[in-house]
């Protein structure tokens, strides 16, 4: 009886896997566009990058110098659609310019983690033995700290500056990249094509760069996308605590910190920067999840 049920179920499953493949990237892009949630993520990220790119063109006011203390904390109006902040500056313009800083944070801190993590992970996986032991134990130790706390502590001792906040975030994110790369390297290290490359006299560096690392591209891209979102979130938290971007920089977390004192009188000063952070991070999360499914359909269940 149970067997017939099984068979029935099997035949009911649609089989449309015969579609022609157009290569990994084209396929992945198609899958992202077809999935509603990752398409939304892609659109949010695209808008975010576009706004950052053309900020000076679309921002109606200067984010730092156009201040009018008499009209400070003014509520949203036709002229200032998001109102004015504690220094009488246009919040909308500051948000637009803030996207540039967020792009900068995402790119710099994640690149830091990416370069460091990939090199360490590749070295650990490829050379193995004591080097692997040392590197991966160090990564375990970094993971033994709660990440936000470690970033806060590093920024605190290096000095409250956006640059130091980005370094701290980079350090905190490094182990995640190292782990991904190491496990992929371990899984391909014994493959015959690696042995072949070695036997025709390729250097270790060439083998790692040309033959090993391309295998980790997909998980690295997913991790990078997700990390950009959390980096923006963490940097905003650091700036909010006064450890990252300093006033008058229109960084979103710093803007929240500025609005905090006026939360009862002028909640609009806080509402908009928080929403900006939330939507951008959401965009990167959606896109990252979508990329994971698109680049490795086996993982999707």
């Amino acid at each position: 009886m149970s067997e017939t049920v099984l068979n029935l179920n099997d035949t009911q499953q649609p089989r449309n896997e015969t579609r022609e493949s157009k290569g990994l990237w084209a396929d992945a892009f198609n899958r992202i566009v077809r999935s509603k949630s990752s398409l939304i993520g892609l659109i949010i990220v695209a808008i975010f990058l576009l706004v950052a790119l053309v900020a000076p063109v679309i921002a109606p006011y200067d984010p730092i110098n156009d201040s009018d203390l008499v009209k400070r904390l003014e509520e949203p109006s036709g002229q200032h659609i998001m109102g004015r902040d504690s220094q009488g500056r246009d919040i909308f313009s500051r948000l637009i310019y803030g996207s540039r800083i967020s792009v900068q944070i995402g790119v710099i801190s994640v690149s830091f983690a990416l370069i460091l993590g990939v090199s360490l992970g590749a070295a650990a996986g490829y050379y193995g033995r004591w080097l692997d032991g040392i590197i991966m134990r160090a990564m375990d130790i970094l993971l033994a700290f709660p990440s936000v706390l470690l970033a806060i502590a590093i920024t605190a001792v290096l000095g409250p500056e956006l640059r130091n906040a980005m370094i701290a975030i980079g350090v905190v994110y490094t182990p995640h990249f190292a782990r991904i790369v190491r496990s992929t390297v371990l899984s391909v290290k014994a493959a015959e094509y690696i042995e072949a490359a070695r036997s025709i006299g390729c250097s270790d560096l060439r083998i790692i760069m040309r033959h090993v690392l391309p295998n980790c591209i997909a998980p690295i891209i997913v991790q990078t996308t997700l990390s950009v979102g959390t980096a923006i979130l963490d940097a905003a938290a650091l700036s909010f605590l006064g450890l990252g971007a300093q006033p008058p920089t229109p960084e979103w977390g710093a803007m929240l910190s500025d609005g905090r004192s006026y939360i009862q009188k002028a909640p609009h000063v806080m509402i908009f920067p928080g929403m900006a952070i939330m939507f951008v991070v959401l965009g990167f999360n959606l896109l990252g999840d979508g990329l994971r499914d698109a680049l490795d359909p086996r993982l999707k269940q």
Partner: protein, 334 residues
């Protein structure tokens, strides 16, 4: 089982040593002279020398580390350079506040997260599933300090329903037994204080619960979906068991393993998130203590604080691993 626990405890030693080295080196990351960084630009040479002496900065690095470790083993976590009080005492005093907040947050996160995850999995692609998964996505994307402030604005300032800061209203008195205010007020039968401390606890614990709640809901859902497809679930249904029994006794029990791991990790992360939440809600716990120490450049407190919190974090993860091996004996063998 005992062997497994001993093995795991021994495995902790290198991690603890590594963590202590990191915490030790933290103070040496300060650009320039740490003593000057603590005291500021206008410090006199005498006070600089005194702080250097107190922190033992005059000795070679390895001697400093060995002394640091020697003191740690004796339970001496140093003194604050601002208040001169013992760091360990400050932490012990504030620890119950953070634990109360974390336990409340974790309780909310587990109850709501697991329930939402189970319902979403059972009714996959229903409106409930869609809404709770969108909610979970927002939950991991929202800055919790902003969410906390928005909740303060709405529930405390606009509606006046709940309290936005501190653990208890100033005019109330409460005899401290455990320093867990909710527990203390129950133990002493002080119902007014119980009601008041709950009113103070709800907003910060909700804010702190947001991220773990979202992650637990997503994890429970995907884990449940996987289990629900398995043959023994079909067998259980075929036997004519009630759906409730199938889902909670048969499916959830097995789906719970990965969720348990996530819970452990999240509980540790709460301690990090507590810095933000406690700062916003003026909650007198160790997170706020850390924040104040950072702002006053009280580096010995920062150093010991991060060490203590990380040790708690490592310890919680160990407990979760051991629990895990209890529930799933296969772990012990591997």
């Amino acid at each position: 089982m005992t062997r497994y626990i001993i093995k795991r405890l021994l495995g902790l030693i290198p991690v603890i040593i590594g963590v202590s080295i990191c915490a030790f080196l933290l103070i040496h990351l300060i650009p320039g002279d740490p003593a000057r960084a603590i005291l500021g630009e206008r410090a006199t040479p005498e006070s600089l020398a005194a702080v250097r002496e107190q922190l033992g900065l005059n000795d070679p690095l390895h001697i400093q580390y060995l002394r640091f470790m020697g003191q740690l083993i004796q339970g001496d976590f140093g003194r604050s350079v601002i208040t001169n009080s013992l760091v360990i005492e400050e932490f012990a005093e504030r620890f119950p506040a953070t634990m109360e907040l974390s336990i409340a947050a974790m309780t909310i996160a587990i109850l709501v997260g697991v329930l939402a995850g189970v319902i979403s999995a059972v009714k996959q692609y229903s409106w409930f599933d869609n809404i709770s998964m969108i909610g979970a996505l927002f939950g991991v994307s929202v800055p919790i300090f902003w969410l906390g402030l928005m909740m303060q604005w709405l529930f405390a300032f606009k509606l006046g329903l709940l309290d936005a800061s501190a653990r208890l209203s100033v005019e109330l008195r409460l005899d401290n037994i455990t320093n867990f205010y909710v527990l203390d007020s129950i133990l002493t039968g002080n119902w007014e204080a119980l009601f008041d401390s709950l009113k103070h606890l709800i907003l910060p614990s909700l804010a702190l619960a947001t991220i773990p709640m979202a992650i637990i809901a997503r994890m429970t859902r995907s884990s449940m979906l996987e289990v629900l497809r398995q043959d023994y679930i079909r067998t259980a249904r075929a036997k004519g068991l009630k759906e409730k029994v199938v889902i909670f006794r048969h499916a959830l029990k097995n789906a719970f393993l990965p969720v348990l791991t996530v819970m452990g990790l999240q509980f540790g992360t709460l301690l990090g998130g507590a810095v933000l939440t406690e700062t916003i809600f003026s909650w007198p716990g160790i997170g706020r203590l850390m924040y104040e120490a950072i702002m006053q450049r009280d580096f010995p407190v920062v150093q010991s604080g991060i060490l203590i919190i990380s040790l708690i974090f490592v310890f919680i993860n160990l407990v979760v691993d051991i629990l895990y091996s209890f529930v799933d004996p296969r772990i012990r063998v591997n």
